[in-house]
């Protein structure tokens, strides 16, 4: 019986891809293991092999088609003797339809509070491209900046953040390390003490736990211990928090861990423009900066200002959306839920002000307090665990500085107090959801 060959998912977070090139044509006989086509994801170009043997009956998606959704039929495979008419479905595959993530993206894709000169033009760029551009610009600007990490050079980055950088900067400045986080983090910190400006990529922050002693005891504390003699101008960056279906050991959000440590700066942006501007500021900063990225956001596009040398100051929150009834404070991927909730709440006549913290340490608590004094209510949103969370700290700060302005207790929407489960349904439950944010807002506004 004829079967459909479906567009495969080639990574945990892949929603769609480009069918770059067919290596077979209609009428070809294929065996299990033969390479059928090349598929390009936002991370890599991969070869796709046949699982079953048969004859290629029909090719449904042409070479070079972009935005082919996972599980869409791309070809029909016939058994011996079958005619092409036996195809089970020749329905046109869903092409170029927005992927699930983009469909869920909030209406307000740019913030209201833009500190940009009049007439600024924008270009659409992914978070991935924004990080790479920021690093490359700073490396062109300062010969002491270099990038070090696992697979950053020849492999072009495990998440393709450093794509093309080896070609431009060479192996002296884009350095592949062995899998040895504790060691190479210490080496990079030593180089920073000696006056260089390393960027250390952790494939994900989960693996940085191997190196957390160096990050905290060496990078964060040495300036103080030396009475201000030593500086450690270094950026630690990589994917933080949950990706998709990667289980408990690869899904940890470390925001509150690092935000607790004096001597560090901690940044966790949401939009591509902030990734770019904050990354450039982080590289120029004379202090150790923990830069928490998010794999789910790497492929997301945002408007990035076309400004030469665009930087965003560390330590400043941004009002993404103005409102009067409630303040929703979030950062990183949490902003997605905050903004979605705000859109839906608006339909019900609840006006939410959404603040993107962007930096967790030093935290722009003034921006939160100012907003809460206006709205008298606050909900915080983050993916991390609930105990000793960023939201918990914000609640305490509001209680101390704006207690009399509060009309309801602050609610913290967080990830659940469990290691991340693998099963799709359980993982969804373990993460914070838009519905929970909406429910929290309704609770604090007594609706």
């Amino acid at each position: 019986m004829a079967i459909n060959i479906l567009m495969p998912a080639l990574s945990p977070t892949m929603e769609e891809g480009t069918l770059a090139k067919w290596l077979v044509k209609e009428g070809d006989t294929v065996e299990s293991g033969d390479i059928l086509c090349e598929i390009e994801t936002d991370k890599a170009t991969m070869e796709f092999e046949a699982v079953d043997e048969g004859v290629i009956g029909k090719i449904l998606v042409a070479d070079g088609t972009e935005g082919v959704k996972v599980n869409a039929p791309i070809a029909v495979l016939l058994e011996d003797g079958e005619s092409a008419d036996a195809a089970p479905s020749t329905a046109a595959p869903a092409l170029v339809s927005a992927p699930a993530l983009a469909a869920a993206a909030p209406v307000a894709s740019t913030p209201v509070e833009q500190d940009l000169p009049a007439g600024t033009t924008f270009k659409s760029q992914t978070v991935r491209e924004a990080i790479r551009d920021a690093m490359s610009e700073e490396m062109r600007r300062n010969p002491d900046v270099f990038l070090m990490g696992e697979e950053v050079a020849q492999y072009q980055g495990a998440y393709k953040i450093s794509q093309g950088m080896l070609d431009e900067f060479g192996p002296r400045r884009v350095i592949d390390t062995p899998i040895t986080e504790h060691g190479f983090t210490g080496v990079a910190i030593g180089a920073a003490f000696a006056g260089l400006n390393p960027i250390v990529e952790f494939m994900t922050w989960n693996f940085a736990m191997q190196a957390i002693d160096q990050i905290i005891n060496s990078a964060a504390k040495t300036r103080y211990m030396s009475g201000g003699q030593m500086t450690c101008p270094i950026v630690f960056r990589g994917a933080n928090g949950a990706a998709s279906r990667v289980g408990a050991q690869h899904s940890h959000d470390y925001a509150s861990w690092y935000a607790q440590v004096p001597g560090l700066k901690v940044v966790m942006p949401y939009s591509a423009s902030d990734y770019k501007g904050l990354m450039k500021s982080a590289i120029r900063d004379p202090n150790p900066v923990v830069f928490l990225e998010n794999e789910m956001l790497y492929g997301r596009s945002f408007d990035v200002p076309e400004i030469e040398d665009y930087t965003v100051p560390i330590g400043k929150a941004r009002i993404w959306r103005e409102g009067d009834d409630v303040t929703i404070v979030s950062f990183g991927i949490g902003m997605q839920y905050a903004l979605e909730a705000a859109d839906k709440l608006a339909e019900e006549g609840i006006s939410a002000e959404v603040i993107d913290l962007r930096t967790l340490r030093p935290m722009d608590t003034d921006a939160i307090i100012k907003s809460v004094k206006k709205t008298n209510r606050c909900v915080t949103v983050e993916e991390g665990f609930p105990v000793a969370s960023i939201g918990g700290h914000i609640s305490a700060t509001i209680m101390q500085e704006a207690f009399d302005y509060l009309d309801a207790p602050v609610i913290n929407c967080t990830g659940k107090d469990v290691p991340m489960p693998y099963a799709a349904n359980l993982e969804k439950l373990a993460l914070v959801t838009t519905e929970e944010v909406i429910a929290a807002v309704k609770s604090v506004t007594y609706r």
């Binding site: 910190i189 003490f193 000696a194 009475g227 201000g228 004379p286």
Partner: protein, 329 residues
């Protein structure tokens, strides 16, 4: 072990070694005394017995070379030319200290002398030291970095991660293992599967050498060889210094894990300072009077350091919140 009796002695150099080792010894004795008086608090790890290592190795350094070590760091600081007054004041937690009282015995630094601490986590200074060497490699100069660590740290995983990278990237780093036989209270025999720590780099292709760390001339010679290796771009080098600490691990260590006789025997037979003193006197390179004059001079320096430390005020309370972050310019 027989005492070194070299035929060709550079008398001036040996006198200088004697002077520098004696400074460390007397400084440490004074620190121990001040600790007993409550003027130094917390942890205080004395270097007495190990003086020949830093003095011998510093003889091969040049401007721009870096050094980094653990918390047993007073000797390293004095040997690289840091001011005894600033070191003692730091031990006392005073404003006049190298870290303005905020680091203490275990955490002092000198940008000027390229001394990068003073590190409290066992083994952490090893990758950091390789990072200093990385900076030399990146800049293409011929400076070398000395990463000192003990026999205890030699069992830390990050040391081997560092060996691998240092050898892979040919970093100009000299790994100096100060094997004083005891990791706090655990003897080498009880902690290490093999007795020869200098072979620990063999798996990574790093040459290693065992050195009599109580013989300052042997240390100097080994250091010169290692430095030449590193400066010429051949990558890292390991020197295992066979040494001994006379005092406890820290001031609060009763040292019940070894006998009084064991300590006494080393002091009598291998003392690095007495060793040099014998050579100087028996070879007629110096008279008893010459050495006495040096003793006197050292005593003065140490007393001045102690006086400076005790007279220096505690840091201003405004210091609590300074030096956490560098200003963004």
């Amino acid at each position: 072990m027989a005492r070194a009796k070299k035929a060709n002695v550079n008398a001036d150099e040996l006198l200088e070694f004697y002077r520098e080792m004696l400074l460390i010894r007397r400084f440490e004795e004074k620190a121990g005394q001040l600790y007993g008086m409550g003027l130094i608090g917390g942890f205080c790890h004395l270097y007495i017995g190990q003086e020949a290592i830093v003095v011998g190795l510093e003889a091969s350094t040049k401007e721009g070379d870096q050094r980094i070590t653990s918390y047993r760091d007073h000797g390293h600081m004095l040997a690289c030319g840091m001011d005894p007054k600033g070191v003692m004041a730091e031990l006392a937690g005073r404003e006049g200290g190298y870290s303005r009282g905020k680091g203490g015995s275990m955490h002092m630094f000198s940008k000027e002398k390229n001394f990068y601490g003073g590190n409290g986590i066992v083994g952490a200074q090893v990758p950091l030291g390789a990072g200093l060497a990385f900076a030399n490699w990146y800049r293409g100069n011929d400076n070398v970095s000395f990463a000192y660590f003990g026999d205890g740290a030699a069992n830390q995983g990050q040391v081997y991660e560092t060996f691998n990278m240092a050898s892979l990237w040919k970093l100009p780093c000299i790994f100096v293992i100060e094997n004083n036989k005891y990791a706090m209270g655990t003897s080498l025999q009880r902690a290490s599967s093999t007795p020869d720590l200098y072979t620990r780099g063999a798996a990574f292709g790093i040459p290693g050498e065992k050195v009599d760390g109580m013989d300052v001339q042997a240390v100097k010679d080994a250091g010169a060889k290692a430095v030449a290796h590193c400066r010429s771009g051949k990558g890292p080098y390991i020197l295992e210094m066979n040494t001994y600490r006379y005092r406890g691990h820290s001031m609060s260590d009763p040292a019940k894990y070894r006998t009084r006789e064991e300590v006494q025997k080393v002091k009598e037979e291998r003392d690095p300072i007495e060793n040099v003193r014998d050579i100087l006197v028996s070879g007629k390179h110096a008279t008893e009077a010459d050495l006495k004059a040096i003793d006197k001079e050292i005593k003065k320096i140490v007393i001045a350091a102690a006086d400076f430390a005790t007279a220096s005020p505690e840091p201003d309370i405004s210091e609590l919140y300074t030096d956490i972050l560098a200003e963004v310019v």
